[in-house]
């Protein structure tokens, strides 16, 4: 409960951010960037267990090695970044964005160009390296359940079963927004559309399918990534969409949750530096550390079960871990790769369409 409320409060304060930001600039003289170079770096991510893992595996070792002190916030959003850049009062140095949000931010000129003189691209896989950000992380969008209520043998194996109200009574929890959720792709997969025919996404067909299975009343919406864990364990919902690392973390904490990688959707997040960031040098050095330090990278991957764009770390892993990662070739053919370019072009219109559909039209 408390984590939910904190996240909600953070969301509400994001709304006030544009005003607060402009006020701060109005009242204080602008501090010049890097007055004291490379002493702190402010990182924003998604909070919850994920932030704990980031701190333990990457940020602490980075601090030890470089002397730069990272401070990690939980309220990342494109809106917050945009408000800071537009008001000229940039508080964040390194910001996590979903891939479609990254492409939007590039379009709107909100990002600092990365300095590949500071960030060595030796450890970076080709897919992860971009001019204005690093696609540092790949995760799986999965279907999850609580073993207390649904034993693994009866668990859904694909999205058709997941959405089938006759098979599982009760509600499904779905992320309320689409930049981080692949529920529309899931609905198309449930309708039997093959992986290579999902894009361009037929939004209307996906919504029509959801309206029938499980129906509008069969869905409830979560707004924070930690909510499904609580909704599943309390039995409030029968099934939920979530991310593989969130479920793994909850399992390590003793929750009897499980998920299947079959039919999951692999997507990625970027780390970006906002235009005008005060400690951009430090941010570049952190990016360099994350992409090239083998020991810290391997620790991150083993703790989170996520792919980190860090080739030396990936090479160090035992095959049992490597095979379970979102980018493992073993999963090819059973998972869908999200089309970031399609989403970047269609995100806003689809968000509006989805919201309208949720409201009943």
């Amino acid at each position: 409960m408390s984590r939910r409320s904190v996240l909600r409060a953070a969301g509400a304060s994001a709304l006030a951010a544009p005003l607060a930001g402009s006020l701060l600039t109005a009242c204080s003289t602008k501090s010049t960037p890097s007055a004291k170079p490379n002493t702190t770096v402010t990182v924003t991510s998604y909070g919850g267990s994920y932030n704990d893992q980031l701190t333990k595996t990457l940020l602490k070792p980075f601090e030890k090695k470089s002397g730069v002190r990272p401070s990690l916030l939980a309220n990342t959003s494109l809106a917050g970044l945009k408000a800071q850049v537009q008001s000229g009062d940039v508080q964040w140095d390194l910001v996590e964005l979903t891939a479609p949000e990254y492409l939007q931010a590039v379009d709107e000129g909100l990002l600092e160009k990365l300095d590949y003189g500071v960030i060595s691209d030796k450890g970076l896989p080709a897919y992860a390296k971009a001019d204005y950000g690093i696609k540092y992380l790949s995760f799986l969008f999965v279907m999850a359940w609580d073993q207390k209520h649904i034993p693994d043998v009866q668990a859904p194996k694909n999205w058709e079963q997941f959405l089938d109200q006759g098979r599982y009574k009760g509600k499904r929890s779905v992320y309320s927004q689409l930049s981080d959720s692949s529920i529309l792709e899931a609905a198309r997969l449930a309708a039997g559309v093959p992986f290579d025919k999902i894009y361009p996404l037929d939004v209307d067909a996906a919504l029509t399918y959801l309206a029938q299975h499980p129906g509008r009343d069969g869905l409830i919406y979560h707004t924070a990534n930690q909510e499904p864990i609580q909704q599943l364990t309390s039995g409030e919902v029968a099934l939920s969409t979530s991310f593989n690392n969130r479920i793994s973390a909850a399992r390590k904490d003793g929750a009897r949750l499980n998920f299947t990688a079959n039919n999951s959707v692999v997507a990625g997040d970027y780390f970006v530096v906002p235009k005008g960031a005060r400690n951009k040098e430090a941010a570049f050095r952190l990016l360099d550390f994350m992409s090239n330090d083998a020991a810290a990278g391997a620790d991150f991957i083993q703790t989170t079960n996520l792919t980190l764009a860090n080739t030396p770390a990936l090479a160090k892993l035992p095959s049992s871990v490597a095979d379970s990662l979102p980018t493992s070739p073993k999963l090819a053919g059973s998972i869908l790769v999200r089309d970031d370019a399609w989403w970047a072009k269609n995100l806003k219109a689809t968000e509006q369409r989805f919201k309208l559909w949720q409201a009943g039209s």
């Binding site: 005003l19 006020l23 494109l78 809106a79 537009q86 409830i220 968000e351 919201k355």
Partner: protein, 292 residues
């Protein structure tokens, strides 16, 4: 600055030969200065920026054409009207009970009104969410008593939003109505009784008319507060119960359309200002009623 004097000094020097009312001109402006400065920095400047941001591009056109906006405007009025009605009816009953009790019972009943008033809205909302969910206390009790055999949908719908809002709003209705009741002269009731009036006609012909200004003030106050609700529809409502504040949040955070969000925020400000103006008139009319 030479003409300005502190109020204490002014009244002391004027007190000897002139009526106490006369104060040096400009003092009131000086007294107002801190508030004006505070207002200018914290309210007028951001409001100005909001107005400027909303004129960016065709924000108003875009927002007014959006079917989601008309939907959430309609929701805002429906939910606010429902909550106001429920709050005023419950608030009236509660105020009458408190008014009719002795001093000790009054203190206890007021404490019961004030305690939730001082509790954070999030705490109250999550408490309702726990109570109303499918496997929550209410549904478990209903099924345990055999009244229903499947969970009744109590959460994530309009019912839950109104329940949560009424819980928050009740004190705002109780206090103005109680104030109106407390202002009624006891002798009116004695006079009515001596002329043979029964309880029902005392209520209908004396108490109800005399509390009308209090009730309308309470109703408008509650309605004005209702239109700005944000957290309650998020926690207790379903996607169909989006209010205008949630719509602003959607524009700002998900669409990152700050111009649209500003336009919507101004729209809400204008609508609420109209109601505030009506509220002020009712208060004034209420004052005249009592004086007459």
């Amino acid at each position: 600055m030479t003409s300005t004097v502190t109020p204490a000094a002014a009244s002391a020097s004027a007190g000897a030969d002139a009526p106490r009312r006369r104060r040096p001109r400009g003092t009131w402006l000086l007294l107002l200065a801190p508030v004006l400065a505070f207002d200018a920095v914290l309210f007028l400047t951001p409001l100005g920026k909001l107005v400027a941001a909303s004129t960016h591009g065709d924000a108003y056109q875009r927002v007014l054409k959006d079917p989601l906006v008309s939907r959430s405007l309609l929701n805002t009025f429906e939910i606010s009207a429902l909550s106001t009605l429920a709050t005023v009816v419950l608030g009236y009953l509660l105020a009458v009970v408190i008014w009719r009790r002795g001093p000790l019972a009054r203190v206890i009943l007021f404490a019961l009104v004030l305690l939730p008033f001082w509790t954070g809205v999030l705490v109250k909302n999550f408490a309702w969410a726990v109570l109303l969910q499918d496997n929550g206390l209410v549904n478990t009790a209903l099924q345990g008593l055999g009244i229903t055999d499947a969970p009744v949908a109590l959460l994530h719908n309009r019912f839950a939003v109104v329940v949560g809002m009424v819980h928050y709003l009740l004190p705002y209705a109780v206090f103005p109505i109680f104030a109106a009741l407390a202002a009624i002269d006891d002798r009116l009731e004695l006079a009515a009784r001596s002329l043979g009036a029964g309880e029902a006609s005392i209520f209908r012909r004396i108490i109800l008319p005399l509390t009308v200004p209090g009730v309308s003030a309470a109703g408008l106050l509650v309605f004005i507060i209702s239109t700005g609700f944000f957290i309650t529809p998020v926690v207790l409502g379903g996607p169909g119960d989006m209010m205008i504040a949630n719509q602003i949040d959607f524009y700002a955070r998900q669409l990152t359309d700050f111009a649209g969000a500003s336009a919507l925020a101004l729209l809400l400000t204008v609508i609420v200002s109209v109601f505030v103006a009506i509220y002020q008139r009712i208060l004034r009319a209420g004052g005249e009623y009592e004086a007459g």
